[in-house]
Subunit: 242 residues, 2 copies
Amino acid sequence: MVRKLKNKHPKIDKENGCENCIIRHLNALKDLDNITLAHISDSKETLAIDKGELIFKEGQTLKGLYCVKQGNPRLSKISDNGKDQIIRIASKGELLGYRTLVSGNKTNLSAVALNNMEVCFIPKEQISKLIDDKRFTKSLLVFISNELKESDDRLVNMAQQNVKQRLAQLLIYLDNNFGCDKKGFINLSLSRIEISNILGTSKEGCIRMISNFRKENLIDLKGKKIKIINFDAMVKIELGFT
Amino acid sequence: MVRKLKNKHPKIDKENGCENCIIRHLNALKDLDNITLAHISDSKETLAIDKGELIFKEGQTLKGLYCVKQGNPRLSKISDNGKDQIIRIASKGELLGYRTLVSGNKTNLSAVALNNMEVCFIPKEQISKLIDDKRFTKSLLVFISNELKESDDRLVNMAQQNVKQRLAQLLIYLDNNFGCDKKGFINLSLSRIEISNILGTSKEGCIRMISNFRKENLIDLKGKKIKIINFDAMVKIELGFT
DNA sequence: CGCTCAATTGAGCAACTTCAAAATTAGTGG
DNA sequence: CCACTAATTTTGAAGTTGCTCAATTGAGCG
């Protein structure tokens, strides 16, 4: 089920200039020289993407590379039996679509904004220049290698951990990576369905587990917001203490 | 549980020379020029590795890159709860240890020979030369990208498919990738425990499912060897037909 | 033959899913 | 702001899947 486009990625033009962009220091674009950066800067577009909007869809041929400037997309894939499986949630500074770019294949994942986002789009033509830049390929290689490691880890967790452990792990992960507001609630809010699509469970199973966690006073809920109250217990659950 | 070393990777010296090696055409070494290849060739060692023997172990700092010349290693990882999860089975021509090499971290996987193997070991020192070779990094990038895609696919299957489907998928995969002998039995034989470590199930669950498949005349068994009799039915099971 | 390890089978139990229904929340137009 | 509708969340209960434990059989080996 794909959500409707609410806008058409309106272009916004901020202060511009990849040279001055802090975000690029977070990814493979960090080591490029100013000339290359200027070329990219000239051809790129900065897009505003609303919460829930599709950035690209599984099976599409991407026309370029996306650099996440603000917000979080979820990267997911529809399984053979039609269920949506969220593979991971990306963050500020990450590049999307590099895999497609390198292999020349269509993308195997869909990207949907979990919150309001700002994304820089760098068209394909500029990218061949990047692929020929040794510094770029090298740091991309490092990035993909780490992705691969994490992907392996996720596989092991999915295969060996039960729903309770996977939920605990997810909550800890979210807390670590997306931070909390003043009251301790995790900044990224996910619907129960989204959470179950990460955990690979039925939504009821997921809901019940969240409900259990609340009853045991491990977490607090406020609408879609979740706050971990008892970290120690949560870690123990993740590690399989019964 | 790690199997004992039966030998100590005795070095064997065949006709030698990476320049003349057909295997390298299967991986990122294919586009290197003869000078670089000669350097690698001089420093490499060809090792004989017995079935069941450990090639490297999760957590080790690898001292170089491994190129699979013959045979199949299984790449696995011990989960938090102590179970061994096989991530994938590599084949002739694949490079092992490139991830470690690129990121500089310790390896996150163990490699164990599933059959008698021949592996070329290229020491670390030679590798810095490789990493600076644009052709090498580029084709490595392509390879890792594909790995990443497959890893995503595996995650989705693990999350969304039941044991029956996963077993059917594995058997089809083995049949496609490792071929059969004259009588149709899959060339790669895995113990039930190894199969269950791929599927992420208990060994009993795995055994029972294999037994069911045989009773339903979908497969035939001969010791550890498996032969798919009814491919159509097997594909249907994989796709979730009940 | 006795030892060890892999494979198999059975029975009971725990985890998870599915379907159905109720309660709550969110969104929309007046 | 309220009322109405739609969507999401929650809960219950029954059914299925898969796991664990224990016992048995079989195969390979000195």
